[in-house]
């Protein structure tokens, strides 16, 4: 038990400090990947993996309890939310009399920058959350089973 504890929560000060700075950067990067995914390499799946990696790194440095604390939501709720967004993205097409799941786009300009909102983005966000939720559910329950 005590030897396992070390793996879960390393006490190296470098990792400890670095993870504090890395977490927000990685999360920002994951959102960047999510948003640009339609035109450049990236997308919900990759972004979800990056975000999961961010939390896993933090978990290695600070242990599972404080990771749960900064996540605020249970990973299983993230998973459920992701599935719900994914399923919701299928519906708007019905309002416009198009087949189920047809992508709907809304494009407008803010300060000469084109903003493209779409059900595709909504769906991709669902994928992002589902991937994040899946990995964190597995990792968190593995580590918690470890420390029990």
């Amino acid at each position: 038990m005590s030897s396992n504890q070390k793996i879960i929560k390393s006490n190296t000060i470098i990792l400890h400090t670095a993870s504090l700075f890395l977490l927000p950067l990685q999360l920002l990067f994951s959102i960047f990947l999510l948003l640009r995914g339609h035109d450049e390499p990236g997308g919900g799946f990759i972004a979800g993996l990056v975000a999961a990696g961010a939390f896993v790194l933090y978990l290695f440095a600070h242990g599972v309890t404080s990771t749960r604390k900064i996540m605020r939501a249970d990973p299983r709720d993230l998973l459920g939310l992701g599935l719900m967004l994914g399923a919701l993205a299928t519906l708007p097409a019905l309002l416009f009399g198009e087949p189920f799941f047809t992508a709907q786009w809304l494009s407008f300009y803010v300060f000469e920058a084109q903003i493209k909102l779409s059900t595709v983005l909504l769906f991709d966000t669902g994928v992002y959350l589902a991937v994040l939720g899946t990995i964190l559910t597995i990792v968190v329950s593995l580590t918690e089973a470890e420390s029990r």
Binding site: T134, T137, E144
Partner: protein, 769 residues
């Protein structure tokens, strides 16, 4: 109509907030929705009774002929009205019945979903969406029956209902697909109106049997009737709703709906008449022999379902009029009686009829409603039940198939039902007062309102039968029969044969009721004796047999040795696919090594080196890290061939896999050599065979191309059609988004599987300590 169907689901989502806002009055609040739906559907009565059929359609998967489309004709309209009208009172009633229950919110969520699924079922114009709603009602009713989920008995009964109806549902799916296939489309309105060669198809008999299997299981026809009384484990509002207007009527609805097409089949009339007649008599006998008030009502529902099935089977004009009237009458009185049964249970603390008596003094309004509803159940004037029963006798007298036999069954059943009605509606309320576990007083207003209103409607329809006639019944008959029928409902037809039959059944029923108390012991002995050969025993045999076979094959195939699983998986793939490869393609490996540059060769060599190292190393951590190297080399290959998305994904997945492996690794015992020499050689051979097979398959795939590559299409269509430059992402979230949706659900199931495996085992361990 889309909004009418979906509003129930939407409201269900909002229940938690409404619950915290309105507290215990939530029932009255939620009842506004079914009330509004009732008014909405009622506003269509003039158009529909004028012969109009309202169709609405939304494309869903147009490529497969699957659409979300709704049809409102007489039959759908009557069902929709019953579902929403009775639903209004059920929701109010449940608020009082389950007052202060910790899971009241959850109850309303499931109840609203159930109501919405039921509406979807009766309004669907597409066979596939009909089936989806059909299964939704099975699932939601499972949750409702097992609502008291801490009670093992309730869970067992709920599971039984689910198994029986879902097994029938599978057969139904096959039947509906055959129907859609042979008639060339899945739209009900087209199947019903066209001159389809459905009956000339060689699949017709199979189709009829499959569809009837679905309808019979859902509507509890003999020999599948056993699940329905067990479903009484549900809270009473659920029973009232399930039995009066919904769930069990779904099968009846389906048979009535498809009657114009399927009645031409030679099996239709014999099957429906015989199953219906047997179910009818069995139901009324079992109702007579039971003492629990809910059991009695449940069996009398089986009687009604049998009668309805039989009437559809007879199929004459009279039978159809009788069908529509009986359906309406039954929904009204059964809803009322179940709510009264719940009130009795609630106020006296017992379900046993033989313990109740003289309650009319304590519960005058309930007693009045019970009397009216009971008269309608018994089929006595001036209630609407009487009109329906006269019509049924009339229909049987002129039945084209086995008229005398069916009439005999119906007479016996009618006599029994009169005794049953008396035992439910008179016995608890009249006679000497008996002491009950709780001291009874009048039920709260929410619980009296429903029975009163439903009983009054029975009375009004009985005295003024032209109201329901012009309202819905003539439209229902038109849709079930497939053509308009000329008829008039009346309370008094003069002295004729149906009236004499009614009188005869009344006399016999009165005698049976006078024997009610004395016959209890004898009947319960007979029933226990016969039950040993009943279909329910067959159900349990089948279930235990299934579990035994599953256990045996699990022990045999899944013995917990990881290596064996791998061998079975790998060898099955290699042998099955390898055979196809060698027999279809032959053996001519050819490799063109020109154009391979230095980086590619280096990466390939690196891969080979890592694999060799992994097989030889004795350190677990070393093996995991080396496998990581292998993964990164694959990622490098992706990047070399300009697939950055795949490369990034591969790197990330590889990283997380190594992390997961490390986490799992520390749970394993130290590394040591367990395999015998034979096992090492065996595993090596299997690995080699699989490696050779994969290599050959890859080479063959590069060599042969049966179809044009689809990538050109994606490159061209990506931006114009999907507004995205990243083709991989566009495929994932737009072109093939349905696949992705399926995949994230698979991910979720996998995560929950891991979660429950780890936490449940941990909990079991803590419990042991």
């Amino acid at each position: 109509m889309l909004i009418a169907v979906l509003s129930g689901f939407v409201l269900a989502v909002l229940v938690p907030w409404l619950k915290s806002w309105s507290g215990d009055r939530i029932g009255w609040l939620l009842a506004a929705l079914p009330l509004a739906l009732t008014l909405y559907f009622a506003s269509h009565i003039p158009a529909v009774s004028g012969g109009e059929v309202i169709l609405q359609s939304w494309d869903w998967l147009p490529g497969l002929g699957i659409n979300l489309s709704f049809m409102l004709d007489g039959l759908s309209l009557m069902f929709a009205l019953l579902i929403s009208f009775i639903g209004t009172f059920i929701l109010i009633y449940a608020g009082s019945y389950l007052q202060g229950h910790p899971f009241l919110g959850r109850f309303y969520i499931i109840m609203l979903c159930f109501m919405a699924s039921m509406l979807g079922l009766v309004l669907s114009d597409n066979l596939i969406s009909l089936f989806v709603f059909w299964e939704l009602t099975s699932i939601t009713s499972y949750l409702l029956i097992g609502f008291n989920h801490e009670d093992a008995e309730a869970r067992k009964c709920a599971l039984q209902g689910l198994f029986v109806t879902v097994a029938g549902g599978l057969a139904l799916m096959a039947g509906l697909i055959i129907l859609g296939h042979v008639s060339g489309g899945y739209q009900l309105s087209e199947i019903l109106s066209g001159d389809n060669p459905v009956m000339e198809s060689s699949l017709a008999t199979g189709m009829v049997l499959c569809i009837l299997a679905g309808a019979f299981t859902k509507s509890a026809q003999f020999p599948f009737h056993f699940w329905l009384p067990n479903a009484m484990a549900a809270p009473t509002p659920v029973s009232a709703y399930l039995h009066s207007a919904t769930m069990v009527k779904a099968g009846i609805y389906l048979m009535a709906r498809l009657n114009p097409v399927l009645s031409e089949h030679w099996l239709w009339t014999p099957l429906l008449c015989s199953a219906g007649a047997v179910t009818m008599l069995l139901g009324s006998y079992l109702a007579y022999s039971s003492t629990g008030v809910k059991k009695v009502l449940a069996y009398s529902t089986i009687m009604a379902l049998g009668t309805l099935t039989m009437l559809i089977g007879i199929g004459t004009d009279y039978a159809m009029v009788a069908f529509a009237s009986f359906l309406l009458a039954h929904s009204l009185y059964k809803g009322a009686l179940f709510m009264i049964a719940g009130a009795l249970d609630h106020e006296t603390g017992t379900k046993d009829l033989s313990l109740m008596g003289g309650l009319r003094r304590a519960m005058p309004y309930t007693a009045a409603a019970a009397l009216i509803a009971g008269l309608s159940l018994a089929g006595l004037p001036p209630l609407f039940g009487f009109v329906a029963k006269e019509l049924m006798f009339e229909a049987l007298l002129s039945a084209p198939w086995q008229s005398t036999v069916l009439l005999g069954f119906a007479l016996a059943s009618a006599a029994l039902v009169i005794a049953v009605a008396a035992s439910v509606a008179i016995r608890p309320f009249w006679g000497a007062t008996r002491s009950t576990p709780k001291s009874p007083h009048e039920a709260p207003p929410g619980m009296v309102l429903g029975p009163m209103v439903l009983a009054l409607v029975s009375l009004v329809f009985g005295v003024l039968p032209f109201l329901p006639e012009v309202g819905v019944i003539s439209a229902v008959v038109t849709s079930v029969k497939g053509e308009p029928v000329d008829f008039h409902l009346a309370l008094w037809h003069g002295i004729n044969r149906p009236l004499l039959l009614s009188l005869a059944s009344l006399v016999v029923g009165a005698i049976l009721y006078s024997l009610w108390t004395r016959s209890r012991d004898v009947l319960s002995d007979i029933n226990t004796g016969v039950a040993r050969f009943g279909p329910e025993v067959g159900y349990f045999r089948l279930l235990y047999g299934l579990v035994a076979v599953a256990g045996w094959q699990t022990r045999f195939l899944q013995n917990g040795v990881m290596g064996n699983y791998m061998i079975v998986l790998v060898m099955t793939t290699a042998i099955a696919a390898g055979y196809t490869l060698l027999s279809q393609y032959g053996f001519h490996p050819y490799m063109d090594l020109t154009g391979v540059n230095f980086f590619e060769a280096a990466i390939a060599l690196l891969m080979v080196a890592t694999v060799v190292y992994v097989t030889l190393t004795r350190s677990r951590l070393g093996a995991v890290a080396t496998l990581g190297v292998l993964g990164f080399s694959v990622a490098l290959t992706f990047i070399l061939f300009s697939a950055p998305d795949l490369g990034i994904t591969q790197v990330l997945v590889e990283t997380l896999t190594v992390i997961l492996l490390v986490l799992v690794l520390f749970r394993l015992p130290g590394f040591s050599q367990y395999s015998t020499r034979f096992e090492i050689w065996r595993d090596g051979t299997v690995a080699a065979i699989f490696g050779v097979f994969i290599t050959l398959a890859m080479l063959a795939a590069l060599d042969v191309r049966y179809f044009e590559s689809i990538s050109d299409f994606f490159i061209e269509a990506s931006y114009p059609q999907a507004h995205g430059h990243n083709i991989v992402n566009v495929i994932l979230v737009d072109f093939r988004a349905l696949d992705t949706l399926g995949e994230i659900f698979v991910l979720a199931i996998a995560a929950l599987g891991v979660y429950s495996m780890l936490t449940l085992r941990a909990e079991a361990n803590t419990n042991e300590q």
